[in-house]
Amino acid sequence: MAKGQDQTRPQNDWQAMSQQYWNAWNDATRKAFGALPEAAANKTPWHEGLEQWSRMFDAGRAQTVQTETVERLLAGARSYFSLLQTLAEKGAHVNADPQAWADAVRESFNFPGADAALLDNPLARALRELAGQGSKGFEQMMEAVQPAMREMHALLDLPAFGYAREHQEHYQRMGKAWLDCQHETNRYNALIARASRRAFEVFEDKLAERGEPGRQIDSARGLYDLWVDAAEDAYAEIALSAEFREVYGALVNAQMRVRQNVQKEVERVATDLGMPTRTEIDSMGKRLHALHRDAKNHAEVLPGLVAEVAALRAEVERMKAAGKPAAPQAARAPKKAAPRKSAKPAARE
């Protein structure tokens, strides 16, 4: 009985402390932000605190320049706060086994609301959270063409013939490019998932090293930073492999082929509607650039030529003034001779 009471005590302590935390959090935010709506009782108050913090900015009280900052911070801090909560909830129950700690950390990354497709795959989440417009644009484009591609799937291997055979072949190429891109994306994702698995192995190794006296981790941030080191080491191991290089290159190339095929389709429609196309603009741009370059080269050469002509003129003037036969007279001689030369063939006729 006494043993049972001992086992529940840490949990009770945690609940008391979390209530204390929650009260302090509300006090702090009231001071900083004015009156807040009462937060509903929540089983995960630490995590909820972060979400509530972000909702305050969403409420339009801050400027948009800060919203991006908030989003970025939120993306990173979610993992850290989940880790904090896991430590507080489970810390008392986890023994000295590094694998048990690694499991606890793994579980902490699968926080409420996290994408189910990214469970146990924190590196994929980190990559997803980058959300660069370049990659986002491509993902959106992929989503947009997906329904059309599915319909075309059955047609991909049929022979094309008749009046619209060129169009059919184009759609077949587009469909194949999309399927190829999906295939390469899956290969890439598989490597990222492998890096995530490897990250937890590396994490266990790093934890084991911390069992030495004087190297123990005594803060959640310390544990989080150790996890980041492990994740980056594991990722680098995979990312520098020959396999990753091949898959990465294949994925980029596959994405470009899809994009190129979509561009061709857009161009076809633009042409039908009498609108200028990217190909035409590129063609004009290339010509303009060549002209621009020539003009620059001529502009650079011109001052030298002008100076040379001026110097020659000055020299001629000096020679004229000195009464000597000027060089230009000699230069004129062939001009006089030219008609005579041209007359000769006529005489032969």
């Binding site: 945690w14 204390q20 935390y21 959090w25 702090a28 001071k31 900083a32 932000f33 913090w53 305050m56 801050a62 800060q66 900052t69 911070l73 993306a75 801090a77 850290y80 909560q85 430590l87 507080a88 810390g91 986890v94 000295a96 700690w101 924190p122 980190a126 990559l127 959270e129 980058l130 660069g132 370049g134 990659s135 934890l207 084991a208 069992g211 030495e212 006296p213 123990q216 981790i217 005594d218 803060s219 959640a220 989080y224 980041v228 994740a231 680098a236 990312a239 520098l240 990465y248 290159g249 980029v252 190339n253 470009m256 994009r259 190129q260 561009q263 590129d282 741009g285 060549a290 370059r293």
Partner: protein, 355 residues
């Protein structure tokens, strides 16, 4: 012994501190100014297309015998060298008596789609060097190339050495095929012709996405967790946001120049292996005989030290100096250590060689 000894009370305190910082951020995030950059006054002395050469104005007249032109990379904005008052390579160089100029490449758009490396190196850089020499009233100047701008500066020096007294390269990739070079590793499976033919100019967001994926957890999560610590400090927060602005304020890359740079440098490694031509003219590191100072960062994840160090083996000059800086690719400009160590090292090296 247990690897982790975290007292639950301490974990709670840690969480409380984080939450207090979050609470304080409601005030500080609304108070931060629109972060600006550039600590030093400057004047434009030459413009061509989107390229501008600026001369920085120091508090005192320069005492250096020749001007120093900074040639930055195309992939980021050059104001990193003069980010803010207490983080400025330029300001410190001016204080030491250098006469500092910089090339601002601007933001390429569709009109720049067909710019080649020949246009950049034999065109823009050559004319910028001439403009600086003319403005300063000297025949030869000193050139400081940074990152990709360092690779360009090496090519330029090989082709137009008569215009320069000394060359300094900072965090410059030379051997692109070392095993730690993740960026190079990834590009070698790419069909760069397909890439550029499809995209035209390469979007800045795509470039940034690629850089962030070099260290996805550290650069996309840990950095923002660390931001928690400064959420209640307006000045530190502004410093952080200013750096964020620089990181993501990136120009698109002119398509043809990008194609050539990936093909000849990242994939072909021609700066080291040989066979590099810019505008039909052969480029050889062996032909560089002017004094060269090569500065690199020991913790650089974009240009690993192993990519910069080999310059000494391949360059022709007998006056080669190498300086390893304890820091990263960006810390070499903005860290406190950088302010103390890098400008004096550059100034002293130049002072001994500039006539």
């Amino acid at each position: 012994m247990e690897p982790i000894r975290i007292d639950p009370k301490r974990a709670l305190d840690e969480a409380m501190r984080a939450q207090q910082k979050l609470a304080a951020s409601f005030k500080t995030l609304r108070e931060v100014e629109d972060v600006d950059y550039g600590a030093t006054d400057k004047e434009a002395i030459y413009t061509e297309d989107k390229v501008v050469v600026y001369r920085y104005k120091g508090k005192n007249k320069p005492t250096a015998k020749a001007p120093l032109l900074i040639c930055y990379a195309l992939v980021n904005r050059p104001y990193m060298v003069d980010l803010q008052d207490d983080r400025s390579l330029v300001k410190n160089l001016l204080a030491l008596g250098e006469d500092v100029y910089i090339i601002d490449w601007g933001y390429p758009d569709g009109a720049d789609r067909w710019l080649t490396l020949d246009d950049y190196i034999n065109g823009y850089i050559r004319r910028c060097v001439d403009a600086v020499a003319k403005h300063a009233g000297v025949k030869k100047i000193n050139l400081l190339g940074i990152c990709q701008g360092g690779a360009f500066s090496l090519c330029f020096t090989s082709l137009h050495q008569e215009k320069l007294q000394n060359l300094i390269t900072m965090v410059t990739p030379v051997d692109f095929h070392t095993k730690e070079n993740m960026l190079s590793h990834w590009t070698r499976g790419m069909d760069v012709d397909l890439f550029v033919d499809t995209l035209g100019n390469v979007p800045a967001d795509l470039m940034n996405w690629c850089y962030l994926t070099l260290k996805p957890v550290r650069l996309n999560q840990q950095k923002y967790v660390a931001m928690l610590d400064i959420l209640d400090d307006k000045v530190e927060l502004e410093n952080f946001l200013r750096m964020e602005k620089w990181i993501f304020d990136s120009p698109d890359q002119a398509g043809e120049a990008f194609r050539e740079f990936i093909r000849d440098f990242y994939q072909g490694n021609k700066l080291v292996k040989g066979g590099l031509e810019i505008g039909g003219k052969p480029v050889s590191l062996k032909s560089i005989t002017i004094p060269v100072l090569n500065i690199f960062a020991e913790q650089d994840h974009l240009v690993p030290p192993s990519a910069s160090r080999p310059l000494g083996e391949h360059i022709g000059t007998k006056d080669y100096t190498q300086l390893a800086f304890k820091g990263g690719h960006i810390g070499i400009y903005v860290s406190g250590r950088a302010q103390r160590e890098v400008p004096p090292a550059i100034h002293e090296w130049l002072a001994r060689r500039t006539r």
